[in-house]
């Protein structure tokens, strides 16, 4: 929201260039367009500047400048977020961490790595893979999303069912606080004195400061992996199978559900071997010791058969396994082939409420005259209904937003949450009262005040707001600049 006078803008640009270097500041409106939204293109907001620091000192200096000038600022990773969390909602400076993407250190003996925030999630596993290690949190966008972005959203992924989400894998962070001070929260050891500030920082959606170094745990790759595909003629049976697996005392690494519409989209696009006529499929992965794995897989097979699976098969080799996972992980891309647009929802429910909630989701979407595809982390009750729509049809986008709100109310109503891994950002700030009282929100606000007393660090997010000066809110769909150039599609 270019509200700065030309003279002030020129002066600020010069100062920013003095900090990060002349090739690391954008202020031309055309260049800024790329940064006006994240993966949720319903929301758009323009920054005055985008800067590309390469060190914590750069970040601190930019933040101090912003504080002095009372300009809002927001950190940004790859921009794959799905809740508008990294948008410059009130203008100001976008601090892109994409040039801080190094693995600084790997300590295999102590199973940790020190990385910069702009490192792409999957690149860490690539780096430590040759020695038999990996980084466990695996969001579906892991080929593009950054560890810093994962910190902001406390990102999950399919394998977090057994291994936990980002916060369970972060030991410490070097953080630039909103006043420009550089502090360490947590560290390399498993315990650090005082409050668990690293734990509080993770998932704070960029409102507590900017992480510039991150100490993460790396895990030994399991000795063996087994992947089972169970095919159902009825969605309720698939839901029942999830409960049956849990009831047998098994903790799979992942339990993913894919519904018919999604299977068909995936098969059209990639041909991954899912039966097109199935009502739903479960992708169940077990890992751990080679000894006993077959027996445990047999338990999974039995649990699925007992629940009415019409077909259960086990991936015979790594390539078959990879193909099944490709189907799961590329589902979002496949929707693009059957619908001009879609909106990814994210909600969590107690696992036992799965059959009821899936029925309600389908009813709600149908009542709004829309279609929905479900592909989600069934094992931990993390739903992703994806509502398909055509933004060119008048009123359709508004109905998507309405249906989304109704689905969130259903999740809240069964004791669930309005976000399992995508965050609140701009998208869901007004849904927070669905699950939190005024007192809950007031305490969160006090916590925010301790980190970010001026509120300049990523303003307008998480908390229900009186809408700010900028028009943030559902606007008519238009493709992102890089989509128009054919450089990317929406996932």
């Amino acid at each position: 929201m270019a509200t700065l006078t030309a003279a002030r803008k020129t002066g600020l640009r010069r100062e920013l260039e003095a900090i990060v270097g002349p090739g690391a500041v954008l202020s031309d409106p055309d260049e800024l367009l790329v940064y006006e939204s994240d993966g949720l293109t319903l929301f758009r907001a323009l920054a005055d500047f985008v800067v590309f620091p390469t060190s914590a000192e750069h970040v601190a200096a930019v933040v101090k400048l912003a504080a002095r000038e009372r300009l809002p600022f927001v950190a940004r990773g790859a921009g794959t977020g799905l809740s508008g969390g990294c948008l410059p909602a009130e203008g100001g400076i976008v601090i892109s961490l994409m040039r801080m993407n190094r693995v600084l250190e790997v300590d295999y003996a102590n199973q940790l790595a020190v990385v910069e925030p702009g490192l792409v999630n999957l690149h860490l596993s690539w780096k430590v893979g040759p020695k038999g290690y990996y980084y466990a949190p695996d969001p579906s966008s892991q080929q593009a999303c950054t560890i810093g972005g994962n910190i902001a959203n406390n990102s999950g992924g399919p394998h977090t069912l057994k291994y936990g989400v980002t916060t369970n894998h972060v030991l410490g962070l070097e953080v630039v606080l909103p006043d420009g001070e550089i502090v360490w929260l947590g560290g390399r050891t498993r315990e650090t004195p005082g409050y668990d500030l690293a734990g509080v920082f993770v998932g704070s959606e960029g409102t507590f400061g900017i992480a510039t170094k991150i100490v993460v745990r790396i895990l030994k790759k399991p000795q063996a992996v087994k992947t089972v595909l169970a095919v159902f003629g009825d969605v309720d049976q698939a839901s029942a199978a999830v409960s049956a697996i849990i009831a047998r005392g098994l903790v799979p690494a992942a339990v993913e559900m894919i519904d018919q519409l999604t299977i068909q989209a995936v098969e059209d696009a990639f041909g991954c071997g899912y039966p097109r006529d199935a009502a739903a499929a479960l992708l169940v992965e077990l890992d751990g010791l080679l000894v006993g794995l077959d027996a445990q897989a047999e338990q999974i097979v039995q649990a699925c058969r007992d629940s009415g699976a019409r077909e259960v098969r086990t991936a015979r080799d790594e390539s078959e396994r990879a193909l099944l996972w490709k189907g799961r992980k590329s589902a979002f891309g496949a929707y693009g082939r059957i619908s001009p647009a879609y909106m990814v929802m994210d909600g969590v429910i107690p696992r036992t409420k799965l059959p009821y909630v899936l029925r309600r989701v389908n009813e709600i979407v149908a009542a709004h005259g829309l279609r929905v595809g479900n592909v989600f982390h069934a094992g931990d009750g993390n739903l992703h209904p994806n509502i398909l729509y055509d933004p060119r049809k008048p009123g359709e986008e508004a109905r998507v937003v309405e249906a989304g709100a109704a689905i969130m109310k259903v999740c809240a109503g069964v004791g669930g949450s309005i976000s399992g891994e995508h965050g609140i950002g701009l998208e869901k700030s007004d849904f927070m009262p669905f699950i939190f009282s005024a007192a809950d929100l007031a305490l969160m606000h006090r916590l925010k005040s301790a980190f970010n007393p001026t509120g300049l660090c990523n303003p307008g997010k998480i908390f229900p707001t009186k809408k700010s000066c900028v028009e943030v809110g559902p606007v008519a769909y238009k493709p992102h600049a890089i989509e128009e150039q054919g450089l990317a599609q929406r996932f």
């Binding site: 406390n154 929260l185 050891t189 005082g194 509080v200 998932g203 006993g292 969590v348």
Partner: protein, 445 residues
């Protein structure tokens, strides 16, 4: 304390639930006796008690089972002990969701017993589970040997209800296992030692009970060899649920099985495995093979009763301890810290016992009392040297227990640097009047 205040408290929770005078002796910490102990019977009563205390600016010391009551500095001012023992109900357990909601005053062992009947467990095994309450375990961030595989409270707590210093009832997190809505308030209260709010209810993730579990001991002549064996174990395919390293003195506290009846020198590595019987069997065999390569003796099975002794072994090995220090270091530094730490103490004429959750780098050491209580100087010198050793390697030390004569010379908590100021700002935001456990925690919080 004014009688008017006590009358209001009595009217709030019932006279039988307010203790005074000699009845307060179990609640004296470091020789300081509170003004009264109050035991509310509901969430609303907790809030009402805090509202009364806040109005009169009387400090509040939340109290579970009292197992960690002496950690930290004693309260700056005498106040009320707020006991949670009457809030001891299991609120909700849905096995299919693998979650449980409990009131803060329920003991860990009572919860585990209730869950065991339904084939599940809370994968947290803090010391003194018979006395330790869920609320207290969370507030003190207590843990045990199985944290090696299953983590600590921060990995299990998904929702929390607290009463804050302004008597507001606040919920953080929720009841579902995955949740990123709003800030992660459960993390804020774990390990906060009651300085930010009184935990009254918690929702935790559960796990299915394993088919089999086994604990085994491997003896080494030297700590160094045990350290090398642990490195090999950690980089192997094995998935132990506990990796404990004890010096011979601490190992003696586990019972005769651990030391092979011949205590004295050397070290004992205790490893736990769970899972299917065949998995446990295979892992024990692999462990034996791997340990033998590092000069170990036989792998000896230990009785299940040894489990709860592991976390308290360093302390239990010493009849009267004059100080207990807890360290967090890198796993590869554990054996060396134990060896050098004992040397440093011995050079000052002090005998010590050392035990550790070696796989996660958490070490506990205690110093024998003997002369030490009369002469704190060598104890102070040893503790100071220990802290320097830990910090030199990037680790931390906390003086878990010591008499005030020692605590007044050796800081309980490490210096926190810049993060400490942030913690003080959080305390000021949540408890501006310093009502909750004032002066007990880091940086005078």
């Amino acid at each position: 304390m004014q009688d008017a205040l006590l009358e209001r408290l009595s009217a709030t929770v019932g006279p039988a639930n307010v203790l005074r005078g000699v009845d307060l002796s179990p609640y004296a910490v470091e020789g300081r006796t509170p003004e009264a102990a109050v035991f509310p019977g509901s969430l609303d009563e907790v809030a009402a008690v805090i509202a009364i205390a806040a109005e009169r600016e009387v400090p509040v010391n939340p109290w579970g089972g009292g197992t960690a009551a002496s950690v930290g500095m004693p309260a700056l001012r005498a106040g009320l002990v707020l006991g949670l023992r009457r809030l001891d109900r299991l609120v909700e357990h849905e096995p299919g969701d693998l979650t449980v909601t409990v009131e803060a005053g329920m003991t860990v062992s009572a919860l585990q017993a209730a869950l065991r009947d339904r084939g599940q467990w809370l994968s947290l095994d803090p010391p003194e589970a018979e006395r330790a309450t869920i609320g207290g375990v969370l507030a003190a961030n207590a843990s045990g040997p199985r944290r090696h595989l299953y983590g600590t409270a921060r990995d299990l707590l998904i929702g929390v209800t607290v009463v804050t210093a302004d008597a507001a009832v606040v919920k953080g997190g929720g009841k579902v296992v995955k949740n990123v809505a709003g800030y992660d308030l459960p993390k804020l209260f774990i390990g906060s030692y009651g300085t930010l709010g009184v935990i009254v209810e918690a929702t935790l993730k559960l796990r299915p009970a394993p088919d089999t579990e086994r604990l085994v001991a491997v003896r080494f002549d030297r700590l160094k060899d045990a350290g090398a064996a642990i490195r090999a174990l950690m980089s192997s395919d094995l998935i132990p649920n506990a990796v404990e390293l004890l010096d011979a003195t601490a190992a003696a506290a586990l019972g005769p099985g651990a030391t092979g009846g011949a205590p004295g020198l050397g070290a004992v590595l205790v490893v736990g495995f769970d899972g299917l019987a065949e998995q446990v069997e295979w892992q024990c065999a692999e462990l034996a093979r791997l340990a033998a390569q590092h000069g170990a003796g036989d792998v000896a099975p230990l009785a299940p009763e040894v489990w709860p002794r592991l976390a308290v072994a360093a302390r239990a090995a010493v009849p009267v301890a004059s100080a207990v220090m807890r360290f967090a270091v890198l796993p590869t530094q554990v054996a060396e810290l134990m060896e050098h730490g004992a040397d440093v103490a011995r050079a000052r004429g002090l005998q010590t016992a050392w035990a550790s959750h070696a796989g996660v780098g958490v070490v506990t050491a205690s110093i024998f009392a003997e002369r030490a209580l009369r002469e704190p100087a060598p104890v102070v010198a040893a503790l100071t040297a220990w802290r320097e050793m830990a910090r030199a390697g990037g680790g931390h030390a906390t003086l878990d227990w010591a008499p005030l004569a020692v605590k007044s010379q050796v800081a309980v908590w490490d210096d926190l640097g810049a993060a400490g100021r942030l913690m003080q700002r959080i305390k000021a935001q949540l408890d501006p009047k310093g009502l909750l456990n004032p002066g007990r925690f880091v940086g005078g919080i």
